[in-house]
Symmetry: none
Subunit: 80 residues, 4 copies
DNA sequence: TCAGATAAAATCGCGC
DNA sequence: GCGCGATTTTATCTGA
């Protein structure tokens, strides 16, 4: 009985932590939207901006992956 | 020329702001995942947690919409 | 060779089925628009109608989710 | 008073008609999903299928638009 | 006709 | 690896 109520309190704490984090996430998503709106207001094309950001992210990911592969090679060599 | 470089700089600034915000968003998403993992580690069922959180979110959304429709009703009455 | 042409024919059949279904879907969407237009023509506020419909849909969805979480609870208890 | 109740009944009728149509629309959307699933089950790539369908739709739209422009030209000539 | 809101489709990411 | 839920992107619609 006591165990259950403690557990319930713990579960509630987890859930509220997640909800707070999701709220923060939503706030940031709104900030992003605002920046896009501001950029649009100064004449930039949002669709193009999204493409640029997407390409840059792909570049980063690609570079990171290449580094990881390099690491793998190096550690494999170390084990020879 | 000067105009273009200024504009380009401005666009770059917008893009970097967005990229920073997206990075923050990703960090929070990771935090959320960690909380789920921790809750799972203490024995809670993640699927049920998600459902609970989803239901609570629906409650909030519904309440918000009900307030909005009340506003709509009132403004509609005001126009009679 | 024979295999390819059969497969191509099969793919074509899938695609045409989907296109026909999408056409039906579009027709129904048009019907819905017409009903809204007709309601508007008899003096109803479309925005309010949409809100009402949205709230009713939320009710249904929430009820469905509540049943699902009940299932989850029961199955979780069954595993104790 | 009588007017209001009649109106309410009428509004309810409109809403229920729309809800029925939306239900049909959802059913067709489900059918489409099923066809995709079936195609996937027989080895087709859903992403590619979507591309094909999208391209074919664009073709149709383009052709329709060209026909409309042709109509415009012809009627403009008729008015000369 | 266009912006802003709404809804739909496509994509991504997770848990199982 | 697949289904499913969330997110993001695209298309549609309405009101100014």
């Amino acid at each position: 009985m006591s165990t259950n109520s403690v557990d319930a309190g713990h579960l509630r704490a987890f859930i509220e932590r997640i909800e707070r984090l999701e709220e923060e996430k939503r706030a940031i998503a709104d900030d992003i939207k605002e920046v896009y709106a501001e950029a649009k207001g100064t004449g930039y094309d949002v669709k193009i901006m999204r493409k640029i950001i997407s390409l840059r992210r792909q570049d980063r990911d690609k570079r990171k992956e290449e580094e990881e592969i390099l690491e793998l090679y190096l550690s494999a060599l170390g084990e020879v």
